[in-house]
Structures are given as structure tokens and as C-alpha cells.
């Protein structure tokens, strides 16, 4: 154990200025566009997390409560939630004290605003969860095949090739369709067909090759570096080299991939849910909301447009922030650009 007895402030300042993470943080802090979009993303997350508050205190309705035959009392006038021809009520804003803020969602007369907030939770959870799964599996596979090479690498790379040969959407809908009908039952793992884990696992798994391949390439080149040789000369075993030496050097790439993976995976989730093979009822995600709203696209387009715009904003904010993160963590790409054109990119541009 090393005892820190130096004057702390000075050391901390030196560390902040000198360490790559400190440098990256300062570069990121200068990138106002990326930070603004990070702010937007945080707002969206807060919006979704506030779902129960809004549902209990303002709308007084859960995401799956139906109000088909109810009437709203607005300014002494009665408004039907769903009129006899099946058309849902439009946005009430605050006229009905926050009930049906964005109107009702269709024949079932559910509160669109409440569903939007709960749907955001599902979409974000799947985006985060699946990106985490993709990142963990892809990193492990990349470390194994890049470190051991030989037949380990051959087996892993071939398996990834087969998954790669499948178009992502086709693979996603095949798994989504069969598991939505049958559920999953492998060993100790029992998942019912409407479990939210099914889309998380499908999307997390389908995306693995797209992250594992570039990571493997990076491990292969890192493995030739002197610090690996030095560690091995000191007697470091496979685990030590993989997780103690190689992994920290992959960290910035992994962080970038994870961030951009959230955006990508959320888009795939919305596609699968839109097609009816992602999140299953009674669960709601923004993708399922667009899908069910599509039946009323001619008369009530807002039902598909609003959740669609939420997906766009979320994915956009993650993408722009992820690009800023890449510029901050991997400034070589930026330096290269400056060297080539003689033009420095104006400060503050995100991408």
C-alpha cells in the first residue's frame, strides 16, 4: 500500500492536466454542442423516470388503464374519450387538469402521455441493457480471440461471420417472432414470451459481431506492443495480460462503442417493436406506440408522430454526444483531419 503524503492539491492538478482522462474531459467540456445534447438526453431520461409521478398525481391513470366509455368534464362541457366512430380524443393539454394531456391512444382510450412516459422507460432500458450486453460479450470475445489467436480466434471469428452474414433486421425479427410466440427456456433461464428480457437479449446478441470485430482488430495490434511483452516477461499470465494490460488500453474505444451502441440498439428496438416482434403487450415502448398508432395515421397522425419524434430526439442526442466523446477520447481523428485540410474544425462543433 502506498501512502500518499505529497501535497495533494499539486498532485491532483498535475494528474488532471497530464492524465489522458483529464485531457479528454477538458476536451469534452469545451464541446458545447455535445454537452447540450447530453443535457437533452438527461432531460429525456428524467421525463421517463417521472412516469409514475405523472400517472399518479396528474393523469390519475396507469399506462394500461382503458377509458373507452368515459367522459371528461372540461369547462362544463362533456367530451368523450373515444367517440362512437372510434376516434380518440385529441390533446387536452392542461384543460382537463392534465388528464389526457396528449389525448387518448385509440379505441381503448388509454392516456397517451402516461404511455409515452412509461414507453420511454422501456425503450431506454432496452437501449442501455442491450448495449451493456453487447459491450460485455464483444469485449470478452475480442480479448479472447485477439489474445490467444490460433484456433480460438478462428472459432470465434467464424461464428461472428455467420451472424454477420445475416442482415440485422432479419435476424432480429426471426428471433423476435419465434421468442414472442414461444418464450425462451434454456437451462436455468426461463423467460415468458412477453418478458422485456427477450428484446434486450436479442438486440444485445445480434449486435455483438459489429462491436467484436473492430475490437478484435484493436486487440490484435495492441498485443504486439512492448507493454504486453514487458508484462509477459514479468511473468504475467493470460488473465493478467487480458484484463490488466489490454483491457485498460481498450477502455476509450469501449466507452465510445457503448455510447453509440445505445443509439443503434434503440433504433433496432423501435424497428422490431414497430413490426410487432419487439416489446410485447402489456409492455409499451415508443416503437410499439408508433406501430399501434399507425392504424390511425390518417385521422390521428400525432399518435405515431409523437413517440417517433421521441425516438429521434433520444437517438440523435446519444449520437451527437457519442461523436463528441469520440473527439475527446480519440483526438487523433481530429488531428488527422486538421493535418489534411489545413483547416482546424471550429471549436464547439460536435462532429
Amino acid at each position: 500500500m502506498r501512502v500518499v503524503s505529497e501535497p495533494n492539491a499539486e498532485e491532483a492538478a498535475r494528474a488532471a492536466a497530464g492524465s489522458p482522462w483529464g485531457l479528454a474531459w477538458r476536451r469534452l467540456r469545451r464541446n458545447r454542442v455535445a454537452l447540450a445534447f447530453l443535457g437533452l438526453f438527461i432531460l429525456i431520461v428524467a421525463f421517463s423516470l417521472a412516469a409514475p409521478l405523472w400517472a399518479d398525481n396528474v393523469a390519475h391513470s396507469g399506462p394500461n388503464d382503458t377509458h373507452t366509455l368515459e367522459k371528461l368534464q372540461v369547462d362544463g362541457e362533456k367530451r368523450e374519450v373515444v367517440n362512437p366512430s372510434g376516434r380518440p380524443i385529441g390533446a387536452q393539454w392542461l384543460e382537463a387538469d392534465g388528464k389526457f394531456f396528449l389525448g387518448a391512444d385509440g379505441r381503448l382510450g388509454r392516456d397517451e402521455m402516461v404511455r409515452l412516459m412509461y414507453g420511454g422507460r422501456t425503450s431506454l432500458l432496452i437501449g442501455f441493457g442491450s448495449a451493456l450486453i453487447t459491450t460485455v460479450i464483444a469485449t470478452l470475445l475480442a480479448l479472447l480471440s485477439g489474445y490467444y489467436r490460433g484456433w480460438t480466434d478462428t472459432v470465434i471469428s467464424r461464428a461472428l461471420d455467420v451472424v454477420w452474414a445475416f442482415p440485422v433486421v432479419l435476424l432480429g425479427i426471426s428471433l423476435g417472432l419465434t421468442l414472442a410466440v414461444g418464450g425462451l427456456d434454456i437451462g436455468p433461464l426461463h423467460l415468458s414470451s412477453s418478458s422485456i428480457w427477450i428484446p434486450i437479449l436479442i438486440i444485445g446478441g445480434v449486435m455483438v459481431p459489429y462491436m467484436a470485430r473492430p475490437l478484435r482488430g484493436e486487440v490484435l495490434s495492441l498485443r504486439e506492443k512492448e507493454f504486453v511483452e514487458a508484462a509477459e516477461a514479468q511473468g504475467a499470465g493470460a488473465m493478467r495480460v487480458m484484463f490488466g494490460e489490454l483491457l485498460p488500453n481498450l477502455a476509450s474505444t469501449i466507452i465510445i462503442f457503448f455510447t453509440l451502441g445505445i443509439a443503434n440498439n434503440m433504433l433496432l428496438e423501435s424497428t422490431l417493436s414497430f413490426l410487432g416482434v419487439g416489446v410485447q403487450p402489456p409492455g409499451t415502448s415508443w416503437g410499439t406506440m408508433v406501430g399501434s398508432g399507425f392504424d390511425l395515421i390518417a385521422s390521428a397522425p400525432q399518435l405515431s408522430l409523437i413517440p417517433g419524434v421521441m425516438i429521434l430526439l433520444t437517438v440523435l442526442s446519444v449520437n451527437v454526444f457519442g461523436d463528441g466523446l469520440r473527439d475527446a477520447l480519440d483526438p487523433r481523428s481530429k488531428l488527422r483531419l486538421e493535418a489534411h485540410t489545413g483547416i482546424a474544425e471550429p471549436e464547439g462543433t460536435a462532429v
Binding site: 432479419l170 424497428t271 413490426l275 437517438v315 489534411h340 483547416i343 460536435a350
Partner: protein, 318 residues
Amino acid sequence: MGRFVIRRLGGMVAVLFAVSVLTFLIFNVVPSSDPAVRMAGKNANPRLVQSITEEWGFDDPLPQQYLTMMEKIFTGDVISYEGRENVVERIVEGIPATFSLCIGAAVIWMFFGILFGYLSAVRAGGLLDRALTVVAVAGISMPVFLLGAIFLSYLTYKTEVFPSGGYVEFTESPLEWAEHLILPWVTLATIYVGFYSRVLRSSMLDVMNEDYVRTARAKGLGERRVMTRHVMRNSLIPIITIFGLDFGALIGGAILIEGIFSLNGIGQYTYESLKNFDLPPVMAVVMFGAFFVVLFNALVDIAYAWLDPRIRLGTEAR
């Protein structure tokens, strides 16, 4: 060259086999319930389940089941359980609409992707570059169905500028054919334009620093000529590579677009089958789609080797 082709085709056959086994596993083995029950879908009754089990041989050992499935798909003997139609016939009927959609969209996205990429590389850092960057990032983040919903609700239902869906044969009326396809083309193309322009931009910025570009400038060539003849040519290589991959995989996008615009092609058929949880059509489309992708990629690789001797002679990466 001949040896390269043979090796590449050999690899292709191996991948085709692996892909078909994977499809088989996904549809028949991985999910826990009885595949016959899943296949019977919403109208499941014991008699139907029994007959499906016999028809597809779900009681047989797995290798036998795999052979049965492959035989049924490739002899065109697959029946959907929702509409009791011949699946392969429906897929063949859908080919013209789907190809019209994919080829038209590809032309649009290549044209605008290259144009935007070129403009933002030439003016890197400038106002135009930044504006195009915003457009590109928005395009990359855009869910296809949102764009489709916007077009449908504003240009079809509200203002009636474009007809609402449907597919008209080219031979019937080329004008109506195009009119019905414009919105689907634009929607499908938009999601690719942003990505392609970004790739071209960064690859052009890379190439601009090459020695031969400096040489071209040094010998007094005009800027425009340097850009088009020296920089563009070599920058297009990554674009063509990803185009090969994306075009093959376009069936995924076609499912969404055709479903949204009722184009009556393979995509819409898949879309409806998904909504009905009708397995056999989806299984067949996935199998044909994956085969098409693998075949297409092999052809692209062979075309490359033909264009660039370094690929067929040099040490391959794998």
C-alpha cells in the same frame, strides 16, 4: 483469378450452410415451445398442430428435420398457416415491387450521398459542411417509420400530393409506377444518405493527404480536376464496399417501407406475416434474404478482385 473465384465460392457455400443451420435453429430449436404450435399461430387447434407436426416431421431427429425444412423451402412447398397460401409463389410475385423499391432508393441515396459527401469534404469546416453534417446526423438518427409517418400524414392524407400506397406495374404505366414509388424511395434513401456522405467525407479527407494528390497539385492541375480525378476516385472504394453490403441487406428496410406504404412486395408480405405471427413465410423470407446477402457479397468480392489485383494476389486479412 480463377483460384480466387473458386476459393471465394467455396467459402460462400460454407457460409450458406451455416446460415441455413442458424435459421433452422432459430425457428425450430431455440424457442422452448412445440414448433408446430408456434407455426399454427393464432388458429391453433390440436388437429392442425398434429398435421403440422407430421408435415414438417417435428418428431424426427434434428438433422432429418433440417433436411425436411430445406427441401420444403427450396421446392416451393411451404404453406402459410394464416392464409393457406403457397409462400414461395407469393414471394416470387413480390419481386418486381421490391426490386423497384430497392433499386430506385439505391440510385437516390448513392447520388445524394456522394454529392453531399463531396461538397462537405471540399468545404470541410465551412458553413455548408456544418449544415450537411447536421442533416447527416439527423438522417442517421431517424427511425424509418417516423419519416414514413410524416410523409404519409402530410403528403398523402392531408394534402393528397402523392397517392396512398399500392404498387403499379411499370409495364402498366411508368408514370404511375414512379408516382407511387417516390415517397417509399425517398424514405428508404434518406436513412442511408447521411451515413454515406459522412463516410465519403472522411475518406476524401484521408485521400487528400496522399502524396499523389500533392503531386497532382504540384504539377499544376486545377483544384476541380484534382478533386474529381484524383481524390474522388480513390475515396469511392469504401463507399462501394458498404454499398455492396447495404444493398444486399436492403430487404430489412424493405419490410418496413413496404409495410408502411402498402407496396405489395416481399417486404409487405413479411410485414403482414409478422403481424399475424405466421411463421413459414417469415422463415422462407429470412432464408432467401440471407442467401441473397451471402451471394451478393461473394459477387462483390469477386468484382473487387477483378478490379484490384492486390486483393487476389496479396495476403488476405483472414
